[in-house]
Every structure is written in C-alpha cells, then in structure tokens.
Symmetry: C2
Subunit: 101 residues, 2 copies
C-alpha cells in the first residue's frame, strides 16, 4: 500500500483510538460509538471506518444488520516494515543481523 495513504489513515486521533479498540477484537459500529463515549457520533465513526477500510487496515464482516470490524494487523506490520526499509534502513540491517546470530 502507498506509504502516504497509510500515514494519512493514521493521522487522526479519533481514528487511532478506534484502531486500538479494533486491534484485538471484532466490534460493531455501535460498539465503537459506545466506547468513544459520545466524543463523536455514529456517522463520524462510519466515516473513519471507511477511511480505514480504504487503506485496507481493517477486516470487515457482515452479520445480520451489523457490520463487524477488526484491525488488519498484517497490513499494519507490512506498512511499518516498508517505512522501516525506506526511512530506517540502518536499523533494519540490525534486525537482520540479529536473525543471523
């Protein structure tokens, strides 16, 4: 995925809060709204989830009239790896050497 698009997806406090909720469990849209405790409303949450979906940073599963979301940890891992490769190559080298030990 495009690195700028990835960074833009993370470049919002509300969105990162949502990502933490979705990191290790499946939540419906309303679950997310509830956890945000009225800080933003349902359409705003849907908006953020769409952004995350466009960046392929979430998995989505429809169940009845609800949609469940969870964080795509693999994509996160890949994108962070790309950032490291491009912007911290010397530190990637260190990790590689670690493996060889």
């Amino acid at each position: 995925m495009d690195q700028v698009k990835f960074a833009k997806a993370l470049a919002d406090e509300t969105r990162q809060e949502i990502m933490k909720f979705l990191c290790c469990e499946w939540l419906s849209v309303n679950d997310v709204v509830d956890r945000l405790q009225g800080r933003v409303n349902q359409p705003t949450v849907s908006h953020h989830l769409k952004k995350l979906e466009e960046a392929e940073l979430v998995h989505v599963r429809q169940e009845g009239r609800q949609r469940f979301y969870s964080l795509n940890q693999e994509m996160m891992s890949i994108c962070c790896g790309n950032l490291m490769t491009n912007y911290a190559p010397e530190f990637v080298d260190q990790v590689i050497k670690l493996r060889e030990v």
Copy 2:
C-alpha cells in the same frame, strides 16, 4: 513521541519525498529544493523541514549560512516499533520468537 504527531508528519507526499532525500545523507535546504525540481519553492521546503524537526524526525546541523538536515533513523525506528506494538502485537510476538530461536 506521540503516534498521531508522528503519523501527521508522514502524512504528506512532499514531506515523504524530502525524507527519502534526507534518509542517508546530509542536505542543505537548497539541496532539497533542487532535488524537488521546482515542484515546490524554498519557503515551502522550509515549512516542511520545520514540521519534520518538530517531530524530531530530522537531525539539524548549522554550517556557515547553511543548515544541513538528515533523517533521524533512530526516531523512525522507535516510532515504527511503537506502532507495531500497539497495532500489530501478534506480529511483534513473531519477531520475539524469532530471536529466541
């Protein structure tokens, strides 16, 4: 560093282009302007460098009337690591297991 601030620093195409230039060498402001080949002008480059500096993503060194910048790979590495820890913990586990082998 704050993860949102980090993401915001990366959430711009021009800024990431500049980061690639600065990744493995020291460049003056004008060097960066030249490499961008007229896509943006000097004040804009200064603006972006300031943002990167505020995010502690660049090292700065004054030399005569020039200011040289280079990418802070260590900070990049730390921030990517934090992202991984928070948003891809299962993959961090894999890396840890790799070390134990």
